[in-house]
């Protein structure tokens, strides 16, 4: 499977050598997508790209950073980075109001988050590869996670699985590896910037 993925990445690169690669960051809410997007964007362009918050569904529209250049192992790759709204099967305004957000605003946010999930899924048609990020302190084997991975596989979109939050004591990144053994897994802490260089190596190694 990994060999097949490498082939896919290689084919992708060879077929459109001069085009930028669009990389979508997918995953459930609060997995750390925006923290990772900011970390990558800051590294590559010096600017952050998304708001980060404890409140779920903080990213409710697709955030883009275009023409960021990754360098690793002496190779360079130009990418468009897309930070996606978190995909979930339920959106409840109470998830917002319990963080102190007024009821009317919370209901508005719930609507935006629902639209955001539809938008994130639509964008799958426009990405060349996906970073699928999971919170390593949570059970990775949820219906949403399995559905996301299964459908990316069905659409033949190359995937790099990211087990995030390894700086936390309760993190068990091996559970992510066990849940998705058919995909390469990089263990990181987006917040602390741990192993981000390994992530770049994997991205550049597979996309160029």
């Amino acid at each position: 499977m990994i060999g097949k993925l490498k082939e896919l990445f290689s084919d992708l690169f060879n077929s459109s050598e001069n085009e930028d690669k669009s990389i979508g960051i997918y995953g459930p809410p609060n997995a750390g997508k925006s923290t990772l997007a900011n970390q990558i964007s800051k590294d590559l362009t010096g600017e952050e790209m998304s708001n980060v918050s404890e409140v779920p569904h903080e990213t409710r529209t697709v955030e883009k950073k275009e023409k960021a250049s990754i360098e690793a192992n002496g190779r360079e790759l130009e990418i468009n980075l897309l930070d996606m709204p978190g995909i979930s099967t339920n959106v409840d305004f109470k998830d917002f109001s319990e963080h102190g957000i007024e009821e009317d605003e919370a209901k508005g946010r719930a609507k935006e988050a629902t639209k955001g999930i539809v938008e994130a899924i639509k964008y799958l048609d426009d990405v060349d590869a996906c970073l699928v990020i999971f919170d390593a302190t949570e059970d990775p084997y949820t219906q949403v996670n399995v559905t996301i991975i299964g459908n990316l596989e069905a659409k033949d979109i190359p995937i790099l699985v990211v087990a995030n939050k390894i700086d936390l004591e309760e993190a068990e990144p091996e559970r992510v590896r066990d849940a998705f053994p058919q995909h390469p897994v990089v263990e990181i802490s987006a917040k602390e910037g741990q192993h981000i260089d390994k992530l770049y190596e994997e991205i550049v190694g597979r996309l160029s």
């Binding site: 409840d92 209901k107 508005g108 639209k115 938008e119 048609d125 949403v144 069905a154 058919q182």
Partner: protein
């Protein structure tokens, strides 16, 4: 043969390595199939019950529940939504269920499945 691949339909026995490694087609989604089938009498009883429920417009009784995989988004209440991620991933029109038996068909996506921009009012409870 209780585990059926949701992508290609290949079936695997309990404990098969493929359930962990993924199917030969690359998918790792499996659905568990009940081994024992119902007797003819039982089937007749269920058919009758389902027909009654459909005639009465009921979706759930004590022991039978209909699960229609029709709606992409269900408005459970104002600001509370259930999202059918699997359905959204298919290129089919968006269907928003407002209340039991009331569906809003998102016409732009019906004509062009890649057009999925929904307006906020389409997510209002009716």
């Amino acid at each position: 043969m209780p585990h059926r691949c949701m992508n290609c339909g290949e079936t695997y026995e309990d404990g098969s390595d493929k359930l962990i490694q993924g199917c030969d087609c690359g998918s790792s989604l499996f659905v568990y199939e009940q081994g024992e089938s119902m007797s003819e009498d039982e089937q007749e009883q269920v058919t009758e019950k389902v027909e009654e429920m459909m005639a009465d417009g009921v979706e759930e009784t004590g022991d039978v529940k209909f699960e229609f995989d029709l709606d992409s988004i269900r408005v459970e209440n104002e600001g509370v939504y259930s999202i059918n991620v699997s359905r959204l991933l298919k290129e089919i029109p968006l269907v928003i269920r407002k209340t039991e038996g009331t569906y809003h068909i998102h016409l732009p996506s019906a004509f062009d499945p890649s057009t999925t921009d929904i307006s906020p009012s389409e997510l209002d409870k009716e």
